[in-house]
């Protein structure tokens, strides 16, 4: 801001007043301009403080320079110096000089009017001599001799006329090192000259150096080669081999070996040990040796245990299968609660890579097994779905594939070396269930089928230690469906109709459904045992059943009722679970059940399988319920069914035959036996059901057996379809006949009443075996003429229209039956 002086304002005011006629005089006069302001003639004031300095050559000193003016400083203060000095800010820098010199610095400043002021700074500079002498660096000693890796003490020093500001330090070539007055010789393989350079510097930048020369010779080689076997111990069979990797290394290089020598007849080459033949266990020691050029020698030892010829290792383990229980709510399979159960009594084989059997055994009641095989041999463990035992008690049960040449199923592990020590291999058969469907092989299925049969066999062995079960198969496949007609081609293709037993008294097998999402039975244990019960009845006892469809509400042919009731009861007895369950449908998620303990049957009687199962189960179980006070267990039932008086009875198999035989063997329980029979509306006595009063709403069904005698006149029998056909109550009439003397006889069956155009047929049996028949298609009559041996016969007489299927006209008709 420009200050305007008071003088100027006053002058200007006077000028303005004068211009406006402020001086009086009356109008019309000339205005006189004011006088110009006076000129600025005052120069700025400039000063140094202090005004003098004394500094050494090249050094600095401080003096404050300032400038002021009456109007204002418009330039400066600016400072210039002579004699090499310089000034900046408030710092003076002296020139470098070896002689004393005076430096004068002048500061000037100007104002707007051009007035200039100045000031002077006087500096006395003391000259300093220049240092051009480098530091003296010394190695003491400056030469040396050393061996590779050796440390040598050498003194490195540096001096200077003024002073050492950096170092001394040293660097070396050829791998040498110098630090803290110590030289470290490099490891060399040949004589080597190592040169080290020491360096120091002073403040003037002068650098001094020195050289150290060291002659380095190779250190003596004192390290032996490192020799190693890996592993250092082996166990091999007689004349067998084992592997151990042999290596040898050295810091200067291996020049000899590694060479191996073995004692006791062993040999080693290419990392392989070969054992000698030996009949006793022996120890072989192999020693490997290697040398370097300096003659250093290293070694290692391999110790081998050679097993005697024939020595074995044991492979043991536990075998299980996935067990899937039923839901008590849906009766379907409850996959979420799958657990592992032991595979019991199954054949276990140790196989080599060519499926040759090295050893075989069976799993025990806990699923454990143990086999012995040669050492270091590739072995796989295979478990077959079969129960086989020979000897006093014998059996032979296999689960096979009827769609694949009846080959037996097996699970197996991988082909793995048996090693030199005992080992464990546990195997489990998986169900194959993937969460919502079967997604992998149903390995467990054959073993699930086999499991309840193991239980059944063991229970019968417990009551008869000499029991011999004829060979049989459970035939199962994932292709086994409920379609088909039962032909051999159908069975081979899996169209088995339903789970069933197919037998003829001399052989028989069970077919089990495996059709996922329609009907599978491998986990329906009561079904499996029920069908095995038919096998038992057919092959161990006697069955005259004609088979066919059946249910607990049907009034059946008494032979069918007995067979089916036996199968149902047996399943409850063997599994210790009276509730029979059968799963089926999508995801095997539904099913049905019934209890063999239940004594309530709407169609109770000698023709009802429900009654038969109730009676048989009540004979067995220990629970007293209703009229049941029996707890005889399995033994008496087994004794009854296998008694020759049962299997050889002239009467057909029925609940009457069973009860009659049971009471003859268990006379003390006869009253209780009668009680449970009566509870099922069964009143007939003896094997023929004499005196039975329950006709099951079929009038012609009583008496159960009509008695026909030779020359005794015609006996009326009827064949009706009131309860259905084929195997229902009333379809077939039963007669008993005694032939007193072997000879020729004529038996006729002639329509007596009812529909015409019928087709009467009849079959004669002795102890369950058919010995004669008349089944021609003659309308309304049929005749047999032939030789009959003396003895008792049971006769099955019926109208073919009531036991056939399509192409027939079921109906009621009665016949006269006579023997002459």
């Amino acid at each position: 801001m420009t200050r305007i002086s008071k003088l100027s304002v006053t002058a200007l005011s006077a000028a303005i007043l004068a211009a406006c006629g402020g001086g009086g005089g009356g109008g019309g006069g000339t205005v006189t301009p004011p006088p110009p302001p006076p000129a600025d003639t005052t120069a700025p004031t400039v000063s140094f403080s202090p005004t003098t300095l004394s500094v050494d050559s090249g050094q600095t000193g401080t003096s404050t320079v300032s400038a002021s003016d009456n109007v204002g400083v418009t330039s400066g203060p600016n400072v210039s110096c002579d004699n090499g000095g310089s000034f900046s800010g408030s710092t003076f820098t002296a020139p470098t000089t070896e002689t004393d010199v005076t430096v004068t610095c002048t500061a000037t400043a100007s104002d707007a009017a051009g007035n200039q002021g100045s000031a002077t700074l006087t500096v006395d500079v003391t000259g300093v001599p220049i240092d051009s002498e480098a530091p003296v660096v010394t190695f003491d000693p400056s030469t040396a001799n050393a061996m590779g890796g050796e440390l040598v003490n050498i003194n490195l020093t540096a001096t200077d006329n003024v002073g050492v500001t950096t170092g001394p330090t040293a660097t070396c070539d050829n791998g040498g090192d110098f630090f803290n007055n110590q030289f470290t010789a490099p490891d060399v393989s040949v004589d080597t000259t190592v040169t080290c350079t020491g360096t120091a510097e002073d403040a003037a930048g002068n650098i001094g150096t020195a050289t150290l020369t060291v002659q380095v010779t190779p250190a003596p080689d004192v390290l032996a080669p490192l020799v190693s076997f890996n592993p250092t111990t082996l166990t091999v069979a007689s004349e067998g081999t084992g592997s151990s990797v042999l290596s040898a290394t050295d810091d200067r290089g291996v020049t000899v070996g590694p060479n191996v020598t073995c004692d006791n007849g062993g040999s080693f080459a290419n990392n392989t040990f070969t054992a000698p033949a030996t009949n006793v266990e022996l120890t072989v020691t192999c020693t490997a040796t290697a040398e370097d050029a300096a003659g250093n020698s290293g070694q290692d030892v391999l110790t081998v245990t050679v097993a005697a010829a024939g020595a074995k290792v044991t492979i043991s383990g536990n075998v299980t299968f996935d067990f899937v229980p039923h839901s008590n709510v849906t009766n379907g399979l409850d996959y979420a609660n799958t657990s592992q159960r032991p595979v019991r009594g199954a054949t276990v084989e140790a196989l080599d890579g060519s499926d040759a059997v090295l050893d075989t055994t069976q799993t025990d009641a806990s699923g454990n097994y143990s086999v012995n095989v040669d050492l270091n041999t590739d072995v796989r463990i295979r478990v077959k779905s079969e129960l086989v035992q020979t000897g006093t008690a014998s059996w032979d049960v296999k689960v096979t594939d009827n769609t694949n040449n009846h080959n037996v199923y097996a699970m197996q592990g991988g082909l793995t070396s048996s090693g030199a020590a005992n080992s464990t291999r546990d195997l489990n058969a998986a169900s194959g269930w993937g969460g919502s469907d079967y997604t992998s092989s149903r390995v467990a299925a054959p073993f699930a089928i086999m499991d309840p049969i193991y239980t059944a066999i063991q229970k019968f062995v417990a009551v008869d230690s000499t029991v011999n079960f004829p060979a049989m198969e459970f035939r199962w496949s994932t292709s086994n469906t409920s379609g088909g007609n039962g032909s051999a081609a159908d069975l081979a293709a899996g169209r088995i109709g339903t789970s069933s037993y197919i037998g003829n008294g001399t052989s028989g097998n069970v077919y089990i459904l495996g059709d996922a999402n329609n009907d599978t039975d491998e986990y329906d244990r009561h079904v499996v045992v029920h069908e095995w019960g038919h096998y038992f009845e057919d092959r161990m006892s006697r069955s005259d059943s004609v088979g066919g469809g059946h249910s607990l509400s049907n009034r059946l042919d008494m032979r069918v009722a007995m067979g089916e009731g036996w199968g149902n009861a047996l399943s409850g007895m063997i599994l210790d679970d009276p509730v029979y369950r059968d799963s089926l449908g999508a995801g095997q998620g539904s099913g049905f059940n019934f209890s063999v303990e239940s004594n309530t049957h709407s169609t109770a009687g000698w023709y009802n399988e429900g009654s038969a199962q109730s009676i048989i189960y009540d004979v067995y179980d220990s629970a007293a319920d209703g009229a049941d006070n029996l707890s005889l267990g399995l033994g008496p039932i087994y004794e009854t069914l296998t008694a020759t008086s049962y299997t050889g009875s002239p009467a057909f198999t029925s609940i009457f035959l069973f009860l009659n035989e049971l009471k003859s063997q268990q006379a003390g329980s006869a009253t209780d036996i009668d009680a449970i029979s009566a509870a099922q509306s069964i009143s007939g006595t003896d094997e023929y059901g004499a005196g039975e009063t329950n006709n099951g709403t079929v009038l012609s069904s009583l008496p159960v057996y009509k008695t026909v005698t030779v020359g005794g006149g015609a006996v009326e029998i009827c064949s009706v379809d009131d309860q259905g056909n084929y195997n229902k109550l009333g379809n077939r009439a039963f007669l008993k006949l005694n032939i007193p003397t072997s000879g020729s006889y004529t038996i006729t069956m002639t329509r007596k009443s009812g529909a015409t155009g019928r087709d009467p047929d009849f079959y004669l049996f002795q102890a369950g075996s058919q010995v004669a028949k008349a089944d021609a298609g003659t309308a309304d009559s049929d005749t047999f003429t032939g030789t009959l041996q003396a003895g008792d016969y049971s006769i099955d007489a019926h109208d073919w229209n009531n036991v056939g299927s399509t192409g027939v006209t079921p109906g009621d008709a009665c016949y006269d039956f006579s023997v002459n």
Binding site: G486, G724, V808
Partner: protein, 192 residues
């Protein structure tokens, strides 16, 4: 399925099924007084010792062989041998069969009705053997429930090439050199 020592007529097998409602009449005539028993018949239900279940027979008029892509119309009949019961038939099929009717459950409420007929329209493009599956459920007046599964093989491939091969859970059978069907076990090995 059949006991060979029993009356031989029970073992005769029919080549094609014959629905009861069609003209499968008795071939016994008054003139010749002879019943022609040469015609194969199917026993009412399997003559084997079958497992317990609903006493229901199924008959149908499917020929057993289809042309891929052709639409089949068949009648399937269920003969109920239970007295006074209600019957439900649930229909399902192999994955490669197309059923044209969305109804999967057929209910027959008339307890006195002994037979229920179902018309099934289907087709398949697959030449692999397939199946139509039926589950019959019987409800008795006393509350008992019985079930049985039935199946009709459907073949649109080579004639006679039966056998179910659509089960994807089954790996091709691996038969060892000694005739054993081997399946891989889950194995755990531990060395002492």
């Amino acid at each position: 399925m059949y006991k060979s020592i029993r009356p031989l007529k029970f073992f005769l097998i029919i080549g094609t099924a014959c629905a009861i409602s069609t003209a499968c009449t008795s071939n016994m005539t008054a003139e010749n007084n002879v019943v022609d028993k040469s015609e194969a018949v199917i026993a009412p239900i399997d003559s084997s010792y079958a497992k317990p279940g609903a006493a229901v027979r199924m008959v149908h008029n499917y020929s057993g062989q289809s042309t891929p892509g052709s639409i089949e119309n068949i009648r399937v009949s269920f003969i109920n041998e239970h007295p006074n019961s209600k019957m439900t038939v649930t229909v399902s099929n192999s994955p490669d069969i197309r059923l044209f009717d969305d109804i999967r459950q057929h209910r027959f409420e008339n307890i006195a009705q002994k037979r229920g007929d179902i018309d099934v329209q289907f087709s398949t493009q697959s030449k692999s053997p397939q199946a139509l599956n039926f589950v019959t459920t019987i409800e008795l007046e006393d509350g008992q429930v019985w079930r049985r599964a039935h199946s009709i093989p459907v073949n649109a491939g080579k004639s006679g090439a039966f056998g179910k091969t659509t089960d994807k859970s089954v790996a091709p059978a691996n038969v060892s050199s000694d005739g054993v069907i081997v399946m891989e076990a889950e194995e755990t090995i531990t060395t002492e």
